[in-house]
Symmetry: C2
Subunit: 920 residues, 2 copies
């Protein structure tokens, strides 16, 4: 069957509807839908996005038969309107607008008044009895066509108009030089002159006369719309916004209506509710006696809707009716464009309105209370960005100019939010400045565990290297601290204590501002604001918690983070990293370093013994914060070289403090160097080599648990062995763990249950999960490392090539950065195998995820489908994970009713309004 390329819409009949966004674009589908429910929409037709796709696939050739189909629809439009396209006496004029499935800046904007030429302008003048209006429409059309469709610099047209106004019009009206000549001062004679001048400009630039054939005008405009799909601005926008799988834009050709026919005419944009507060009030702007482009151009200041009501209550009344009809119809807040032509309202666009994060919650909750939508719809409608938006500070958006002026450089948006402070270049400076109450931004080439103290003290972190799961990003995310990484243009000079970007130099102590949500860095201190979660947030999240089927835990290493996470809804700790604890104080640091440098077992045991009380205290604090919830504690994981100093100066200091020769420290550090530390001597391999570390850590955990338990705290420790690759390896460590733990429990005479399980983070562990499950009491998928190894990509080095892999314009191999959103095809296959095999051995095996993916919506959905018991993520991602888990559950339930599958798919894909006729 021949594909249909053109869809007609009018009050009488519309070929399309609102479900056809992908084919007709957002604007086209909205117009078709509005027309079909009887709203006043000027008739017209839409050329589909598929044509755009075919156009590019076929080397910028249109599919056969398109011209015929356009002609047919034009004839249908003429019939509907009762005017002829190109008619000299009473011409049918049309607008041509682009309209992609998603709102997409950077593409061709509107061309109005198309169909005018030297002859029909006279007909229009006669028909409307308004020669000035007709000439004004013509000169606008020439300018729009010339600039928008043909790429002539609009300034040339503006300049000619200015010259006309400042010379001929000013002269004619004898205006003094300090009075500005307004557009409306120009008369028809002058406009006629201007039209001539515009046509001359056109010819000078294009080398041809301005086209008089309306059909040529039309195709020129259609070409321009499709051409703009691949314009750099549009491509960049799609890349930045990660818009994929959209094949092209549609073109909308629509009968012109005129908002510039006098005081009873005008044009406006409005939202059916307040997009900032979310309040259920009508919100928008109106410009009397104007065409749409005047609003955009910002030449005149529009009036509020309340003033519109006063000025033209009849027209306003029509608009209020439309508002009511559309909200009821679409069951969501709509963003509308309209024109009033001599007292008659015409709708030119309707689409789901963008809104602030806080108002997303308010609208969703209000609409449930108004019985417009169901709770499930409300939950599906919230996006992770909405949650981020109500927790993290942001740069006050009123500072647009300052932001433009002070923009310094752009990196990878690792942790959202904003921060500002004085630049420091090392952790020590950050800590001492913070101790003095100063706000600082820690700027490093990269961070390491040694920097953690300084990172914590800083307001925000900026690094020159690394990706979203680099050390800096992971640690900062755990704290919800603004962080920008992989800022490759940043040149950091530690000796001079300055950073530079090109010629711009920022010295230590100068202020900068980070926008972690976009990755942008600014010089100077911009004003920050901190949003407060609205009351509706709490309501919605209570629905979320009732809906979801899997638990949400947190990754937390301190009592503070643990408490914070519980506040944010965490139901346990899925990953407590014990190694960060070694850096908390000088004393701890020294003990671990001495342990590493020691070359005898007694030496190591002695140093470890000094760490024991610290770790125990940390665990007690965490157990107390998590009273009643399980706490998964991972034994030491990073390679030992992460704990020792790497500069000669610091090595000398260390040697001094622990009383060994410098050379010994230096040699040990050199010995510890690894070519690929990620695949090196780390994880449980350390405990195979140095079981005394395991002994100390297990002792600290179990003693802490026993003591808390004696104080009445409900403790559920889960000891987790990292980097397991073999059942026998795990068996050795599990045995040793139980020996240490059981002896303490017997000695303390406490009733304490604990589990011993493992991370599944090496491909081999997933492949052999059936064997490993014979020993492990739980699995926790460490998908950060599992992704690195399964894909062979080091997250610290990925910045050099992974962006190209995710960039559709470059290689476009992956839809998402696999360190942000789980690679479901590859890594996900191993996760599913691991779960399936693990449960084959132990049907009730408790399984969770503790990688960064545990806080990312699509990955959480995957974990739900794969049958995990919980996800775990950093405290600030807990609400996002809760939401994602609930959304996953809703989708699962919807999918269970096969009849609804298609509907679900759509609803889900777009997180769009609820279906027609569905009631609670």
């Amino acid at each position: 069957m021949k594909r249909k390329y053109v869809y007609f819409f009018s009050k009488k009949h519309s070929d399309g509807n609102k479900e056809m966004k992908n084919l007709l674009g957002g604007k086209g589908a909205g117009l078709a839908e509005m027309a079909s429910i009887g709203l006043p929409v000027p008739a017209g037709f839409t050329i589909t996005t598929e044509v755009c796709d075919l156009y590019y696939k076929n080397n910028r050739q249109y599919p056969a038969g398109l011209d015929k189909e356009v002609d047919e629809n034009m004839r249908r439009l003429e019939k509907e309107v009762g005017k002829k396209f190109g008619d000299a006496a009473d011409p049918l004029l049309v607008s041509v607008r682009s309209g992609a499935p998603l709102s997409m800046p950077g593409m061709m904007e509107t061309i109005l008044n198309l169909g005018l030429n030297d002859r029909s302008v006279a007909g229009l003048a006669a028909k409307t009895g308004n020669r000035r209006f007709a000439l004004d429409a013509y000169r606008r059309f020439i300018m729009m066509y010339g600039s928008t469709a043909k790429g002539i610099d609009r300034e040339e047209f503006n300049h000619a108009f200015e010259m006309l106004k400042s010379q001929r019009t000013r002269q004619r009206l004898h205006l003094p030089s300090h009075v500005k000549v307004s557009d409306t001062d120009v008369n028809d004679v002058e406009l006629e002159e201007l039209v001539k001048e515009y046509k001359a400009i056109y010819k000078r630039n294009i080398g041809k006369e301005f086209p008089q054939d309306p059909r040529e005008q039309l195709w020129g405009s259609v070409d321009a719309v499709f051409g703009s799909w691949m314009a750099e601005k549009a491509v960049t926008y799609r890349r930045v916004e990660k818009i994929k799988g959209v094949v092209g834009t549609a073109v909308n050709v629509q009968q012109m209506v005129f908002g510039n026919m006098g005081a009873k005419s005008g044009t406006g944009v409005c939202f059916t509710r307040d997009p900032n507060s979310g309040e259920n009030t009508f919100y928008g702007d109106y410009l009397v006696n104007a065409q749409g482009e005047d609003v955009v151009a910002g030449i005149r200041t529009p009036i509020k809707l309340s003033e519109f009501e006063k000025a033209d209550p009849k027209s306003y009344k029509q608009l209020v009716d439309v508002r009511r009809i559309l909200e009821r119809h679409f069951k969501d807040m709509q963003d509308l464009e309209f024109t009033v032509e001599e007292g008659r309202l015409y709708m030119l666009q309707c689409r789901t309105g963008k809104r602030s994060p806080a108002s997303s919650f308010r609208m969703a909750v209000d609409m449930v209370h108004e019985k417009l939508i169901r709770k499930e719809d409300a939950i599906l409608r919230i996006k992770d960005k909405d949650i981020e938006g109500i927790f993290y500070p942001i740069i006050d958006p009123d500072q647009k100019d300052e932001m433009k002026r002070n923009f310094l450089v752009s990196g990878i948006d690792a942790v959202p939010g904003a921060a500002c402070g004085k630049v420091v270049f090392n952790a020590k400076d950050a800590e001492s400045a913070a101790a003095k109450g100063e706000m600082v931004i820690l700027v490093r080439k990269e961070t390491s565990p040694e920097d953690v103290g300084g990172m914590h003290a800083a307001q925000g972190i900026l690094t020159a290297t690394g990706g979203k799961t680099s050390h800096a990003a992971v640690v900062a995310r755990g704290w919800g601290k603004c962080c920008i990484v992989g800022c490759e243009k940043l040149n950091i000079n530690y000796e001079k204590e300055e950073l530079s970007v090109g010629d711009i130099v920022v010295k230590k102590g100068e202020e900068i501002t980070l926008n972690g949500s976009t990755g942008q860095v600014y010089r100077g201190a911009l004003r920050l604001i901190k949003p407060e979660p609205p009351a509706s947030f709490k309501t919605l999240m209570s629905w979320v918690d009732k809906t979801r089927a899997i638990k949400v835990r947190t990754n937390a290493d301190t009592p503070y983070d643990a408490a914070k996470a519980v506040e944010l809804g965490a139901e346990g700790i899925g990953l407590c990293r014990t190694e960060h604890m070694f850096f908390d104080t000088e004393e701890r640091r020294l003990a671990i370093q001495e342990m590493i440098v020691a070359d005898t077992l007694p030496g190591r045991i002695e140093a470890l013994a000094r760490l024991l009380p610290f770790q125990k205290e940390d665990f007690k604090g965490i157990f107390k914060a998590m009273n009643g919830f399980p706490v998964t504690i991972r034994l030491i994981d990073p390679p030992l070289h992460e704990f020792v100093p790497h500069t000669e100066e610091k090595q000398i200091q260390l040697a001094d403090k622990i009383g060994v020769p410098f050379e010994k420290v230096r040699l040990r550090v050199e010995q510890l160097h690894e070519a690929n530390p990620m695949l090196g001597h780390r994880g449980c391999r350390l405990c195979i080599t140095y079981p005394e570390i395991l002994d100390m850590q297990v002792r600290a955990i179990i003693e802490a648990a026993c003591e808390c338990s004696a104080e009445g705290v409900h403790v559920f420790p889960e000891i987790m062995i990292p980097l397991t690759i073999d059942k026998k390896e795990l068996q050795i460590l599990e045995n040793r763990t139980r020996q240490v733990a059981d002896a303490i429990i017997r000695e303390k005479k406490v009733k304490l249950k604990y589990l011993v399980g493992t991370m599944i983070e090496v491909p081999r562990a997933a492949l052999l999960a059936d064997q490993i499950a014979e020993v492990a009491e739980f699995f926790s998928f460490g998908t950060n490392d599992l992704t690195q190894m399964t894909m062979g990509i080091s997250r610290d080095d990925a910045g050099k090539f992974l962006p190209d892999y995710v960039d559709e314009k470059k290689a476009g191999v992956f839809a998402d950065d696999p360190f942000q959103s789980l690679d479901q095809a590859g890594v996900g296959m191993l996760v599913k195998m691991g779960i399936e095999k693990g449960r084959r051995t132990k049907p009730g095996l408790k399984i969770g995820i503790c990688g960064e993916h545990g806080g990312e919506a699509k990955s959480v959905e995957f974990c739900c489908r794969a049958g995990m018991n919980y996800v775990s993520c950093s405290p600030f991602r807990v609400p996002i994970a809760r939401l994602a888990a609930a959304q996953a559950e809703i989708k699962k339930n919807m999918a269970k009713t096969p009849a609804k599958k298609a509907a679900v798919k759509k609803a889900v894909k777009k997180a769009k309004p609820a279906k027609k006729g569905k009631k609670k």
Copy 2:
């Protein structure tokens, strides 16, 4: 049913047979078998290895009922022999010997004459009419029991004997001081004195009288045998020789026969064929009038068998008959121990004889020609070590003392063979010394591609870090060049140009010798010898090639290596690494470095254009060497930082030569630094970022192929894309490859077929092999990297912990180093998945392996079973792979006949003689 712990053997009846080696040990099974085929074996019984196992499992307690079973067998022995154990008048004397399933030095040796005591020694004297003999037997027994079973220093006994000889005997015989007193000079009176003295030594050391109860003597000896199983020497031997799965040793108790009863008595060891040359001649030593221990002690020089024949033709004749019977029975060369007691031959041991590598081939081929075995048996009998042994130079084994004296340090035996030369510490020195004709050993902490020239120039390579698949090992193996890596005790000081081990310092220019087969390093120059492959090698390998079903290719990067590999039987190149070519000359190095430093596309293209002719010439040479065989060429693989200099000095030089500022070079090198280069910007990721590199390489390959083809060379290029992780990624590069290649082919008007395929070396590629096979025309499993990523183990860093994982005494997680022998459970699962999924998409998909495993016997067998089309390995491993492939095929065919399965299993497991009654 009760387990049987003791197995009796005698001419009349034997409980065991030769198949029961695991239970009875090698010695016990041999004795039982010889007895049962009617050979003269003194009767006796064997306590099984299972008893040893139970003894250790049960805290050094024997299983219940063992003592009763031993008593029963002792009574049976008494009955058979007609003497009583402990009888004062005519005592039954026995020997007690250990005997594990495998020959195992370090365990308890023989105790002879057990059963003698103060009373029975008189009975023995009376019975034999030889008081001196009886007393001599008794004093020997006390010494052996005291030292061997009870751990008394044998020197104490020797000293007492020496004192006796040098004082009393010398006095009695009035011997002058320069004449040595011989053992046989000592008379019965003196011996009686000596027995007293020995018993006193015993009491002094043990605190108890020498046991007079023969039963106590017996159990003391049995305890000692089982105790020696866990003696440090034995445990170390098993670890070093990688002997696993052997549960314990057996104990053999056997009636004594006496080789020391006069001129018609004696004892000897012999081989049924010459173990050095492999010649079918009788080979051995005989000692007249001696007990076995005299042979071992080396006190007297034995005579050759030919002299034995002359001296005692009757006894010799008996031995020749036994030789004939045993070879026909066991169908393999046997290693025999025997004793002649007053003209009667007794067999004390028979086992398959160890032989030199060259003689392995000769014997196997001869026995086929003699119709003793089938060709398949001959093939199964050859070991990979045999092949290694006939290709690599070795240290002349006559230098045992020098080796002991000059031993310096021990590392990991990366590439077998031996090398000696002057120490140099950098590649440049190696090259310039080699240019002057000097032999050098390159000593480095680790090597990198920059060192390749120097590595090639050196006789051998020694590194302080790295494992068997580190850069040094892999590159050296490709050349069959002696290499020792991971020599962690080695302290290298580049500035001082010296290495040290503890206090010993070796300076640049001093000589050292490497034994790459053992990993041992010696100071000074030891004499090397180079074996020559015997004629029988060629014969056997021709059978091998007719037998095997899969192809054997080679990994070769130069025309020289390619030609060498063809000589060694390679049938194509499975992996030609193109990056080594970049280091061949200064000019090439500069071009690649300039390409890397260039920050514009034209700059890179220009630098690459200079590399093109070099690569093309290399490929032409390789194609010519491989005329008629396929050549798989891998596009650039290592990360770019491997190509640039890392010292400031060299960076300044580079900057100078290519005319860019030093700072630019420095910055670029810094930018290229990676945290985990193994998982970094390398492999096909480079061609995604810099497609111009692919363009140049494909052009070089295809132009070379076209030109060779025009010269009449048969060229089959297979272009291989490394590190693929996704179908789309491969698709992009495959498209580009074909565009470049097809254009050249069209232009040159040559008929050329080429394939485009990929390495499967990242877990994700194996998981998604079905998708990747939609694009790839062949797969080559890169199991080095696949192992690293699947197991999460960096081969360069594994030296720190992997040895513990493979050491049974430590963690013992893995049976083999997974970088040597493929981890079949984990990595192998991915390989099988990859093959299965790949062929599901493309049933005829050509699949091979090009990792180091392609030259390791067990891994090759796995590849055959998994259905690969070929394996590929370094040139010197080609014969080993050919052999392994043939052996795998034979095992597969044998396994196909279900009835034979059990027999096959045994035959195969032990690579032992063919089955009884099986004829060609």
